[in-house]
Symmetry: C2
Subunit: 337 residues, 2 copies
């Protein structure tokens, strides 16, 4: 439930341009908001870091990604790197910044909430409070992928007036128990490493395991069929180089405690689809083993408002929402409009 | 590639009886055999522990299971526990001990070979040598599941005269790169634990990860959909209890170094199907994510001798060879006959 390879998503440097400067008062910002966290004893004040950009005064589209995604959906003036959904959000793109305003937050953690755990409902409550705080009140659309889709559902279920329509990619009303098993093991790896004073190594290993759940089986077969190489006293298989690289990259940008909390938050997520009345466009990926199509189908069936499910044929598994730009663009454009 | 729950396979105590005493000279035994290991410098003598039982002088059926299986395919007089394939091997069963003699070995490790790694070819060479040593010469049939299927292919490719026909369940000519990725991570977990002095805990965790690859996705959904429980300072999900139990059981009966070597042996396995001329009956399981049907199909297509592939519809994933007794029995009976 993580942007596994944001750099791979960046358009070639020659075609990528930062989004134009947004209206004054927008861009990146921080607001202190008050919510009562699900797993805390009392109301608390939380600093929420957001990005707001696009056409001033235009309808607002909230965009949220997986647990390792940030508010940086699109790059701003002066940013050295593109945003994690740069290919789908921007001037003239599927989520058109000449027609919409895009809002996104950094996920909060239990530490920031003074709570033992953080729920998708907490993230949703913060988004609802932020909409009020920024004077937006009601979002035109919520486009959520992976954990972002879960938070979108929680927002629509708890704050029906906060959002008109939902676009939910590769995320459902609850986690699949096999995916929960895989994440529970990732968390135990991190705990083992933490107990041994080798938490970075363990976090890298947990990320490696996560990568095996994000990408499609056929993609692994196509890319990593080569012979092993013997060095440093053992055989190394081609897929190990790839996984270790992914693990190292993740450790550089992610904190173990943040990982434990947000990974757990996915598994704690449980929203009754019957409570959601917003119009919903669901998007699943054929090779997604983490969020199986059966769960997306159940969600579509149980939602209270009008809901459609589109299945995108993709070899990229759960990471389809980061990789299938061409198939997603027209779908997203229509769903948001 | 492991018998994940041998005890679950045991028939009810009221119906289970030990196999009748076999002819003199059979039963469990040990022979010192000489092979030249693939990853060693020189020929070496290895003690091989075998089981030989069933009808004296009858055609021999070699039966080998996954990396955690032993020679104890069926229980012998005085055994306290049933064998790991008790439901399919025995008097009047699919592999009928009144008509056949069954032979099986305990897998050898690199330590026993004086080698850096152990290959499926090494195991096959030892089986070929054992057939000669016991005066059997040529086996009527080799029934291999998971890693056992890999060793069966290696035997047929290297010693065409040693075996007439193959029955290969949930195993192919090479490991799938996604499965290799999952096993490489399991091995890295064990190495991390070993480096920290917590190897048992790590081995248990590796086994938990393996379990998520053995069983079908729908089975997880059906069994572990319940709500989490908060204790010992964190939420625990129902699937975690199951996985931890499986991990603990494995640690009690398995050695970390043995695990590392046999797990690696699966990933090193690479036999050209074109070299195999024996008649082959292949059996795949619809929900097996570790050995996908596509790989069983490729094996069937590339084998040089007559080969059929039967797909068993099962929710049990890779563990179908341990769980689908009723569907396997007629298939096995016919393939062996």
């Amino acid at each position: 439930m993580i942007c596994s390879s944001p750099l791979a998503l960046a358009p070639a440097p020659s075609t990528w341009r930062p989004a134009p400067r947004a209206e004054s008062g927008s861009g990146r910002g921080t607001r202190t908001l008050t919510i009562r966290p699900k797993y805390g004893d009392q109301a608390c004040n939380v600093e929420v870091h957001y990005l707001c950009c696009g056409a001033p005064g235009a309808p607002t589209v909230i965009v949220q990604g997986g647990i390792s995604a940030t508010r940086n959906v699109v790059a701003q003036d002066g940013d050295a790197v593109p945003g994690w959904w740069q290919s789908l959000v921007g001037d003239g793109r599927a989520v058109d910044l000449e027609r919409y305003r895009v809002l996104s937050i950094d996920w909060v953690t239990p530490q920031e909430l003074g709570a033992s755990s953080v729920s998708s409902e907490d993230q949703a409550d913060l988004l609802a409070a932020l909409l009020l705080e920024l004077g937006i009140g009601r979002a035109h659309c919520f486009v959520g992928s992976s954990y972002g889709a879960m938070v979108g559902l929680a927002l629509a279920a708890r704050h029906a007036l906060a959002v008109d329509r939902l676009v939910l990619l590769a995320g459902a009303h609850r986690a699949h128990p096999l995916a929960t098993a895989q994440r529970a093991i990732q968390r135990d790896i991190v705990r083992l490493g933490r107990a041994c004073g080798r938490v970075d190594e363990a976090l890298g290993l947990a990320r490696q395991l996560a990568m095996t759940t994000y990408r499609g089986s056929e993609e692994f077969a196509r890319r990593f069929g080569g012979a092993p190489v013997y060095h440093d006293d053992r055989f190394h298989f081609p897929v190990e180089d790839y996984l270790q690289h992914q693990g190292r990259q993740f450790v550089e940008r992610f904190d173990p405690e943040r990982f434990l909390a947000l990974s757990e938050s996915i598994d704690l997520h449980d929203v009754a689809p019957e409570r959601v009345t917003a119009t919903a466009t669901l998007v699943g990926f054929s090779s997604d083993r983490l969020v199986p199509l059966a769960d997306m189908c159940e969600l579509q069936r149980r939602l209270c408002g009008p809901a459609t499910l589109t299945v995108i044929d993709s070899p990229y598994g759960h990471d389809g929402f980061l990789k299938e730009t061409e198939q997603l663009a027209p779908l997203l454009r229509e769903a948001v409009a």
